[in-house]
Symmetry: C2
Subunit: 382 residues, 2 copies
């Protein structure tokens, strides 16, 4: 049983100690002391844990835990300093996602514990080689890219720019690398795949990247891979990860995009004709719009009505790098009280947009009338 | 004179103390002790400062400074703990940008000092109401969005999602708000501007947002604003900020987009016809491409050759929120050894792409053959 005292860091510590004592004597085996508004600082957090362990007579019968928010950018340091003071549990989140500025970032805490084991003398059983892939998957689900300077998982996290550093790393890795890219599961592009690569090479690479796939999945992903090879000169590991993780997150559905034809420009209204496949038959219609995305979505609306749907948000970002980068679109669509996120991925940003919208509509169709309450992502309390 | 000892936190402290003493006696008035690889932890950083102030006989003749990297997510906490131990200078960066996982984030340090003045008893002369705008401008220049959960400046930083928190904030702001949105310069949308707003209303709003504009600039931005009103139902503060800060960063140039006409789809090659204005005359051509962006760029290439240019990177993201969100495209283009970033902004993602590419070409044209060495953004050492 876990007992959690919201806003513990700003509470009266003496009163809090009496509450904690009572919680433990009533059966709480974990005592969570959240820094609900991200107000505390590392030294204070350590003091709080030490205070409780000293003042609460039955403190040894429970594990102390912290739940830190990142409003002033110190959630990771606050969590780690709690561990140094004797906390045995940290509540954190992949990529630090959470209410407002978020919670302590799981991957940063894990790597700080591993890298500074000499100092903290604490450990956890997280397999660090899964951190990179897990982070990408979670960012993918919410339709966001890792910030390039995000510790551990950002594109620049292991990139040494300055000449003197590069020289140092080449001479002796430990000069500037306190942890290796491999330790967090970042693989190098050892083999470049392209249009002449066969299914076995693709399957082997996916396995190297950590994906355990069924035969049907391999077949489906390989088709996507071949299509991508027609559009990109070389397909990198991050492209393959993007295909697989986006498909895993997106699933299948009622409608499938067969064809679209777009006419657009800055002096004309945009026009988009869309063909959708639905249960074996082809639906087709055309629509005008303000801009190409609006025209395409209007055409999809005509084919999939009735029109109680509302597009709440449209976000686009590029996933891989270079001239033929993959674009990923995330749309948030509301229908009555149901709210879903759809995602689409393509080297063609218009196709990515249409795929995302269809994905959202498929999710709504699958849901049926199941939800009569608003469905929205709930980020952590306390 | 500032003396900086690279990788100070991992050095032999005793030896370091002797080096620092010598630097001060030779005239150094600032002693910088960088945590070059982001290895240290708050307690240790405080110890280092205290150690130097105690062991270096002439320590009182210099200001101690730290320069923290964020590899383990603790740059802000490490910097702040140095202040608590007597450091008088912090080297940090807007948005925490810097090599690898970056440096300590200026806005987080400033707000931590202000918010926890009771604890740190230190201050700085930064005008906090400029933090939000400065952050957006810097993100804009590098073509990046603030991560939604970035402390202080992210879209969610002040958004209370959970019901109990919202109730608390309504009852008493201080319950969950340790700092106000206004204190970092986040203004509320008090007045919505639209197609019936005049130039004076626009100018007043820009002034409220902190932009001091010349008459010519007001005229130019107002035209962009009116065009945006044709495409968006309402124009928000963040739209206006996006228009102005993107224009300020992008400048003017040799080529201007007059018109484009695009045909695209998933079963046909894309075609794009482009008209550019160059010194009063109109150039026009059409090109095929793999996808709409590629076709448009090929057409621009035909009009602006010779073709030693290479597109290194293409990145797109949405700036404002909602159905008619602004898209911003950043392209990195190389010509010989010159390398530039171009940016384009529009509610039409195709137009944003073409504008970004033209912006890059204009920058190259303006440069001429001035640079024979590679120009690339240099992020901070040590």
């Amino acid at each position: 049983m876990e007992f959690s005292a919201e806003d513990a860091t700003r509470s009266d510590w003496d009163f809090l100690a009496r509450v904690v004592e009572s919680a433990i004597s009533n059966g709480a085996s974990t005592i969570n002391l959240p820094d609900t508004v991200g107000y505390t600082v590392p030294g204070k957090m350590a003091e709080l844990i030490a205070y409780m362990r000293e003042k609460v007579p039955n403190a040894d019968q429970a594990v102390f835990s912290v739940h830190c928010h990142n409003d002033l950018g110190m959630a990771v340091a606050n969590s780690i300093s709690a561990i140094a003071a004797g906390a045995g549990q940290i509540e954190c989140a992949v990529n630090g996602l959470g209410e407002r500025a978020g919670n302590a970032s799981l991957e940063e805490i894990v790597m700080a514990l591993k890298t500074r084991k000499d100092h903290y003398r604490a450990d956890c059983r997280v397999d660090t080689t899964q951190l990179y892939r897990t982070s990408r998957l979670v960012y993918g689900i919410i339709g966001m890219n890792p910030p390039m300077n995000k510790p551990i998982v950002g594109a620049n996290a292991f990139a040494h720019e300055s000449g003197i550093h590069q020289h140092g790393v080449m001479a002796n890795k430990e000069t500037y690398e306190i942890m290796t890219p491999e330790s967090v599961g970042l693989t190098q592009n050892k083999m470049v795949l392209g249009k002449h690569s066969g299914r076995h090479a693709f399957e082997a690479r996916a396995r190297d990247l950590g994906y355990v796939l069924t035969d049907d999945e391999v077949k489906g992903f390989f088709e996507d891979f071949k299509r991508m090879c027609d559009l990109k000169k070389t397909v990198t590991d991050s492209d393959i990860e993007a295909i697989i993780s986006s498909k895993i997150a997106a699933g299948q559905g009622l409608y499938r995009l067969a064809r679209f034809d777009l006419q657009s420009g800055n002096k004309v209204k945009s026009t988009c004709a869309v063909q959708l496949e639905k249960e074996g038959s082809i639906l087709e219609d055309v629509a005008l719009g303000d801009g190409p995305v609006n025209a395409a979505f209007n055409a999809v609306d005509k084919l999939t009505g009735p029109q109680s749907r509302k597009l709440l948000d449209y976000a686009i970002h590029s996933i891989s790098q270079g001239e033929d980068a993959l674009g990923e679109v995330a749309v948030k669509v509301q229908d009555g009280k149901r709210r879903v996120t759809g995602r689409g991925l393509s080297v063609d940003i218009m196709e990515a947009s249409i795929l995302a919208y269809i994905n959202a509509i498929n999710k709504l169709a699958e849901m049926g009338e199941r939800y009569d309450e608003e469905v929205s992502p709930e980020f952590g309390n306390p």
